[in-house]
């Protein structure tokens, strides 16, 4: 079909050209976002020297790491219960409700979380953000873990038990190492989702616990500047590295028995 190729090009241009421009002009020597006046790392130096940006970055990393850890552990437990344990009543309902947050509009979740926290009178700054992030990261962490576990032959666990390993040691020596690629993939996904989250964080975070995306939004409202380009490019780079790693990991997991 003629034309399909052209449309694909249009799609790619609209998707990637703004990103390319953003990245390129983060290295611009001048202030302009349209006129190239030479290569420079000045904006990066200014961005990294900016204390507010530093604080926002640290906040983002603290939240992303802790939410990733908590969400992955909880998702692993849920996956083990749902995929491994005896079938229990309501198992299907549990499975569906676990994944529903993926489809609920984020703004709704955001408002609900905010209302919930204020109803509880919970004002713990970054801890509130951590709780909110953990909750919406769980389904993202759950999916790769569950996929990995469902591909694992259950008789491997039986074999371990048969060979004198108790339930815990069978898990430690057989199930856990074999589920590891799924767990790592789930953790990385949770990390990215948390790092990039904006809507929920905007609602939940108070002045002291601003994360990087929320801070960038604040800067943009004052007018774009190459400094924003530099910060955004850095964020983009981190995300890209993790996605590439995640892709590599899930591919190698598929190729392993």
């Amino acid at each position: 079909m003629p034309g399909f190729g052209a449309w694909t090009w249009v799609f790619y241009i609209f998707l990637y050209l703004p990103l390319v421009i953003l990245v390129v002009f983060s290295f611009n020597a001048g202030r302009s976002a349209t006129v190239w006046s030479g290569f420079s790392l000045d904006w990066y130096a200014r961005a990294f020297g900016n204390e507010s940006i530093q604080r926002a970055t640290v906040n983002s990393l603290i939240v992303a790491f802790s939410a990733m850890t908590a969400a992955t552990v909880l998702a692993l437990l849920a996956a083990l219960a749902l995929m491994r344990g005896r079938r229990f009543r309501g198992g299907t309902v549990f499975r569906v409700t676990l994944l529903a947050p993926l489809m609920i509009p984020e703004i709704v979740t955001a408002v609900a979380t905010l209302t919930f926290f204020s109803a509880l009178g919970m004002q713990l700054g970054l801890f509130n953000v951590f709780i909110a992030h953990t909750v919406f990261c769980i389904p993202f962490a759950y999916l790769p873990i569950a996929a990995r576990l469902s591909n694992l032959d259950e008789s491997l666990e039986c074999a371990a038990r048969d060979l004198y390993a108790g339930a815990w040691r069978a898990f430690r020596r057989v199930t856990l190492p074999l589920a590891m690629p799924g767990i790592a993939a789930g953790a990385m996904l949770a990390f990215i989702i948390s790092l990039d989250d904006f809507v929920i964080t905007l609602m939940v975070a108070d002045a002291g616990s601003t994360t990087l995306p929320v801070y960038i939004f604040g800067m943009v409202r004052m007018g774009t500047s190459p400094e924003i380009n530099a910060v955004s490019t850095a964020l983009l780079a981190v995300t890209t590295v993790i996605i590439v790693f995640h892709y590599y990991l899930s591919n190698s997991a598929k190729n392993r028995p």
């Binding site: 032959d153 008789s155 491997l156 039986c158 074999a159 371990a160 038990r161 048969d162 060979l163 004198y164 390993a165 108790g166 339930a167 040691r169 020596r173 057989v174 190492p177 074999l178 392993r256 028995p257």
Partner: protein
């Protein structure tokens, strides 16, 4: 040594996997569970291994009840149908796993594992991962991984079914050798009757969760307990017959019974076929003299002797079909009584088929080979 007493097991409301299964396996025995797919063989093994609980009944090992013990506390090991080798461990680590879990020093466990590997002829494969092995090699690793623990009982769930025909025959011999060398009791599951006959000391024939017969290979082949067993093990012709009053002549012919040798009494009796001819058959029935009325006779195709129609002493019939099979020739015959049977003749000498389709023949049944089934 291992004793199952009246084991029953259901899954949910309507799947009855096992019904009142009882048997005892002796020390050092090669015991086989044989039956069609879905008859409950795997379920029975899982109960012995500890992966499944019974609804009722006891599992005794050396006189002690083990039904409540978890799998890791039972001196029983399993060779799984798909081998279930740990894919993230190499062959040596797989084989040493059981010893390590029992708290044996790593170095010592590795030494034993190496010795075990040489016993299954895999010395050079210790560092390989399961994915890098052929089916037959994986099979031997699975055997080594279980045998190294010297279990009281080794459970094998269709261990040969994933192998190709040639390899299956080789592994059969190897399996038998390992059992003899190690002196470990084997409980072996298969749905291949040839395998069961070739390997076992005793066979339990199962159907729909029930044990239909337990006996030595020769017993289940020569003296099948019922029509199912006769049909499932090897090929069998069935003939309808009647026992007239006074037909049972007690032990009269039994004296000449050459296949005896066991303690169970075998009697012979006269049976009238559909066309009025009479034959002599054997029966397990302790009171053959009391047997009356309609019976079913079983005879193996290779025991049917064909002769030209004129020969006296044969049951008359006509040949429908001749199939030349190289070492044997197979005849489909319709008897005058209406029964259709198959006869298998060995082509020991002549290269020509003796009879052609349409020929009238006499089929002779040796009394030792005609078996009265108990309905």
């Amino acid at each position: 040594m291992i004793e199952l007493q009246d084991i029953s097991k259901s899954f949910g409301a309507d799947v009855v996997a096992l019904k009142h299964v009882s048997f005892t396996v002796a020390e050092n025995e090669f015991f086989t569970l044989l039956g069609p797919s879905g008859c409950g063989k795997t379920t029975l093994l899982r109960i012995i291994a500890g992966f499944e609980f019974t609804d009722s009944g006891d599992v005794l090992l050396d006189g002690g009840d083990i039904a409540q013990l978890p799998p890791e506390k039972r001196p029983v090991n399993t060779v799984f149908q798909n081998y279930a080798l740990f894919p993230h461990m190499n062959v040596l680590q797989n084989v040493a796993f059981g010893m390590e879990m029992r708290g044996i020093e790593r170095v010592e466990a590795a030494d034993s594992a190496r010795r075990m590997l040489s016993q299954v002829m895999l010395d050079d494969f210790a560092e390989r991962f399961p994915a890098q092995l052929s089916g037959g090699q994986q099979q031997r690793v699975a055997l080594a991984r279980a045998l190294i623990n010297r279990p009281r009982v080794l459970l094998l769930d269709e261990p040969l079914s994933a192998l190709d025909f040639k390899l299956r025959k080789t592994m059969r011999i190897e399996l038998k050798r390992l059992q003899r060398d190690t002196g470990i009791t084997f409980i072996f599951v298969t749905h291949d009757q040839e395998e069961a006959l070739a390997l076992s000391d005793r066979i339990a024939v199962m159907r729909d969760g029930e044990v239909r017969q337990i006996g030595a290979p020769m017993d289940v082949y020569e003296k099948p307990a019922d029509r199912f067993v006769a049909d499932f093990i090897g090929e069998t012709n069935f003939l309808a017959g009647r026992v007239e009053a006074g037909g049972g002549d007690g032990t009269g012919d039994g004296a000449g019974d050459s296949t005896g040798g066991d303690s169970s009494r075998v009697n012979s009796l006269r049976v009238t076929l559909g066309d009025g001819s009479t034959v002599t058959a054997r029966s397990q029935n302790a009171n053959a003299a009391d047997l009356r009325g309609a019976v079913t006779l079983a005879i193996r195709p290779e025991r049917v002797a064909l002769s030209a129609a004129a020969t006296p002493g044969g049951v008359a019939g006509a040949i429908d079909e001749v199939v030349y099979q190289g070492n044997t020739t197979r005849y489909q015959i319709t008897l005058q009584s209406g029964d259709r049977i198959a006869a298998l003749e060995t082509n020991a000498a002549a290269a020509t088929a003796q009879f052609a389709a349409g020929d009238r023949v006499g089929a002779r049944f040796e009394p030792q080979s005609l078996w009265v089934l108990q309905e």
